[in-house]
Symmetry: C2
Subunit: 422 residues, 2 copies
């Protein structure tokens, strides 16, 4: 049987070869994941990670826009303003160090200073990132132990970057890494690799989104910062698990230049474009892995809106559908419930006429010109068993489009977020 | 033990005596609830309701702003544009008559015409309202049977308006009515009473929000329309169950004038103010009953935001907290999780500094000046057992405020919305 798929914007293509691994794929980086002992219950699960450049590297960071922002986010902003290079990122799970006032800021700065002392760089060249409970102070004795252990455990291979990716997991069920190697027009081979964590968009007792990305391409700091801003806005910012953004969300990008070649100092030209596409691909893979691992999720959902009158309308309509609890519970129930999608589009504020709207679910046309069309329910049921579900909406009001990644809303989500003891 | 409650805007006071009953409390109205047989499974559960004025009554209506709007909503808008008076409202559950195209419009008009014929008025004097599955056509044979039975069953007492309130229930677990009698400055006693249904804000397989309110006060149509617009914007529009608004949401207000007295023809003065306060009180009670009966809800939640820099900021911050799945699951878990509330405020777009924010949960201060404060966890646990939970946030950025009603997010919500067979 043939089904017509609505046109949807393409996903970023991989500009080289996808490879196993994370932050250690790019040359000039080492990493580790260790247990400093941050958990109050004395668990020996890893709780600190370190990503370290062999020499000061160009650096960029993007951070949460939440007005409640954590101490490590504030310290990162200070350090990135003070220095165009960085040598390390210290990450911890268990405690978010948010809503912790002046003592929290001092603890975040002290963490950076400890690592700087061990690594022989200035404190401004160390960035910090935390995820976990809001409102508690970091146990600095455990943090100090963790920093020492992490420096001692540094290594540069897949096992080490996997350990780092594991150490920052909270409600994540799998470690999240992605990496690509591509050939620069100069003939040099460059790599971009990264790790992230995130499952709910935020939760004092667990989640937030943290990401560290590395590259051995020789990219200058201003260009790096431009590229990261663009790439995160097209990847991580298109993920909606529950609509909540965190106090701690951070993505940090380091460029060692260790693969040699002339420095890329402009955000244009073939060499920049290729680097940017590699970065975007890694960010997109990491972002999708967050949506797929959304708290309680059983399926990765791609929502696209096409035919919008303006880019703003496309985004509004897409985000409204992707964050509708009714749409997300319907997907959990394997129900091709176009009515809930139509109602979400209708209340989104986007401008259109209901007579012009088409909706496809799992590739099946279910609404045409605002009216339901018969579809093969057995085929729909079969497709709902796949680990990925597509919702495609065309508003018939223009030519703008938007894509979001989300997941279904299940009993698992409620259990994770309601059934814990606080 | 003494706790300081943050200042929160007062709830509307009852300007008279709250009385049992619904649409039949006001003189000049009769109602009924009957089974036309709209359910495909042949169930004998009541599925149609009729509210009828003894003579043409002044009329007002407010309807969904969803761009996907149902056929009955379109027909109501036509009839209210054509006529300043109405004699009846025909309501049905089971089928929403939305996304049904031209045949759906014809069916809605035919329903009004049938009732008009039976009641001896013009079709424009009959309003229609539907709730249920989107995308299916009304079974007109059953509707015709229902209209006939409903006209025959009309009566004017508490049993009749309870039957009407029951007939429009979908996922509602209780019928919803509220009524008040108050003394006009002229010495006359006037009544305002109403019924509504709604549990999720919308769901093709079940919910939507419908309301019918009656009064025997002598209020002219233009004033009635002004009053209803104001009262719904301060009551029903402050309820958030899941952030979804329906294709069918409708509130209709009829004024029989049957209690006599000089007509209220201006939206000012003591007589108008008293009528408006009675209307607002009824609307608020009905709105709260919807939030309390939210799909899967175990607790009614009142969220207030004070100290906002602008009215828009207050609304934005309040709605963001009230619709956050993380906040709502925390309440389901009886967790005074101020971190999730703070994070929701922070991402809402409202302008404030985190150092100025205070949060109270169930009347206990949990955050002061952006920092957590110790609170009595046993006392919090005890208060979470009550059927109502207060979340009060002060942004410390100005003097504007907003209040929303919502409920917790439980396994029950997911079950209702995911575990049905479509």
């Amino acid at each position: 049987m043939q089904y017509n798929l609505l046109p949807i914007p393409p996903e970023p293509e991989c500009p080289g070869d996808a490879v196993e691994g994370g932050v250690d794929v790019a040359r000039g980086f080492r990493s580790s994941g260790v247990c400093g002992g941050l958990r109050p219950d004395g668990s020996d699960r890893d709780d600190m990670a370190l990503v370290c450049a062999d020499a000061p590297a160009c650096v960029a960071g993007v951070f949460t826009r939440n007005r409640f922002c954590s101490a490590p986010v504030r310290v990162c902003r200070e350090h990135l303003a003070a220095s165009e290079v960085a040598q390390a990122v210290v990450l911890n799970s268990v405690i978010a160090n948010a809503a912790t006032g002046e003592p929290g800021l001092e603890n975040a700065r002290a963490t950076a200073s400890m690592a700087a002392r061990e690594l022989g760089c200035s404190p401004e060249q160390v960035l910090v990132a935390s995820t976990g409970v809001i409102g508690s102070q970091l146990p600095m004795e455990a943090v100090a132990r963790g920093v020492g252990l992490a420096v001692g455990a540094l290594g540069s291979d897949e096992a080490h970057d996997l350990a780092a990716a594991r150490a920052i997991m909270t409600t994540d069920t799998v470690p999240k890494r992605a990496a690509v190697r591509y050939v620069d027009p100069s003939g040099a081979t460059y790599a971009v690799g990264g790790m992230c964590k995130g499952a709910g968009m935020i939760a004092p007792n667990m989640a937030t989104m943290l990401g560290v990305i590395t590259t051995d391409a020789p990219v200058g700091t201003p260009v790096l910062r431009h590229a990261l801003r663009e790439a995160t806005s097209l990847s991580f910012n298109h993920v909606i698990v529950d609509g909540d953004t965190s106090t701690n969300d951070s993505v940090i990008l380091l460029a060692s230049g260790a693969a040699g070649g002339e420095r890329i100092d402009e955000a244009s030209g073939e060499r920049y474009e290729l680097f940017y596409r590699a970065l975007l691909w890694v960010c997109s893979k990491l972002a999708q892995s967050i949506a797929a691992d959304g708290e309680g999720a059983t399926v990765l959902v791609r929502v696209s809106v096409t035919g919008a009158a303006t880019p703003g309308d496309a985004e509004l309509a897409c985000r409204t559908v992707a964050s509708s609890p009714l749409v997300k519970t319907a997907i959990a129930g394997h129900d091709p419930n176009w009515g809930r999608i139509a109602a979400a589009l209708g209340r989104s504020g986007a401008s259109f006429s209901q007579e012009d709207v088409d909706i496809d679910i799992v590739g099946l046309p279910v609404l045409r010109s605002g009216l339901p069309v018969a579809f093969d329910r057995q085929e729909a049921a079969r497709r709902f068993e796949l680990p990925r579900c597509e919702i495609a909406c065309d508003l018939g009001a223009g030519s703008d489009s938007y894509v979001c990644w989300t997941c279904d809303l299940t009993h698992g989500y409620v259990s994770i977020n309601a059934d814990y003891t606080s």
